[in-house]
Symmetry: C2
Subunit: 149 residues, 2 copies
């Protein structure tokens, strides 16, 4: 098969290119693209469980532990007991995260604009929707409706 | 930013989903998606240098060494001296690769059809072209025109 026609090749190469770009531009703020993913979730939806963050980022529970450990050591997040369920742990964003929030969000907005600057609005919409479908990414319900009986 | 609008998130998640699918379906044939990438290059273009394969797969030279070592131990490829340039090494596909070629190519074709089955031809074209552009993937010249003065 001509490799330009293989969806796995195209996604792997384009993901690599974009990830490197995000990595380079976020590192001056002291975070990785994955850590941005964690913070963005917390900023958008508020405190949540490590399991829910792992689900959102498609990481193994063991992998997300390491990510959260590093972020906790840097003071970006903390793990607290859920006041509504004392057997459950919630991840919360800390002041050190708040301190970089504006810069991080501005940088991510800029990166998205730059990477997609050559596309028409129609092409952009087809692309984003296609990636959501391929990645089985759904419009999310609010956090508080998840994982409750 | 709403994470469904972040190109890095969309690419990372959709790449993960598709890669897992390729991984599961290629493993009965004893190869990984990355090893398929190497073989596909050799099948399409013939013998080439490790450096050229690394460029095509966007891998570090040190990473491609490990991939080729594993493939060589399994008898899928060999490294031979370039008859036209005795200081250069070429990677060649071996009979063990030829033996799985039809199955591998059929599986990859099926995977591409399955993953893209819900898209119209127009959507598919926009998607593939967009990923090529984002990944800076160009139509490749024939192998023999590369890396020669």
């Amino acid at each position: 098969m001509k490799f330009q026609n293989c969806i796995n090749y195209l996604l792997t190469i384009s993901q690599h290119e974009v990830f490197q770009n995000f990595f380079a531009r976020l590192s001056p703020m002291g975070i990785t693209p994955g850590q941005y993913g964690v913070l963005n979730y917390l900023w958008e939806k508020g405190p949540t469980t490590p399991k829910e963050i792992a689900r959102y980022l498609r990481l193994e529970n063991s992998t997300i532990s390491g990510v959260l450990d590093r972020m906790q050591r840097r003071g970006l997040i903390d793990r607290v007991v859920d006041p509504n369920n004392r057997r459950s742990i919630l991840v919360v964003a800390m002041p050190a995260a708040q301190a970089i929030k504006d810069d991080v969000l501005k940088t991510v907005d800029e990166l998205n604009l730059e990477i997609l600057q050559d596309f028409t609005p129609e092409e952009k919409e087809v692309l984003m929707k296609a990636l959501c479908r391929i990645g089985r990414i759904e419009d999310e319900e609010p956090n508080e409706n998840r994982g409750r009986p």
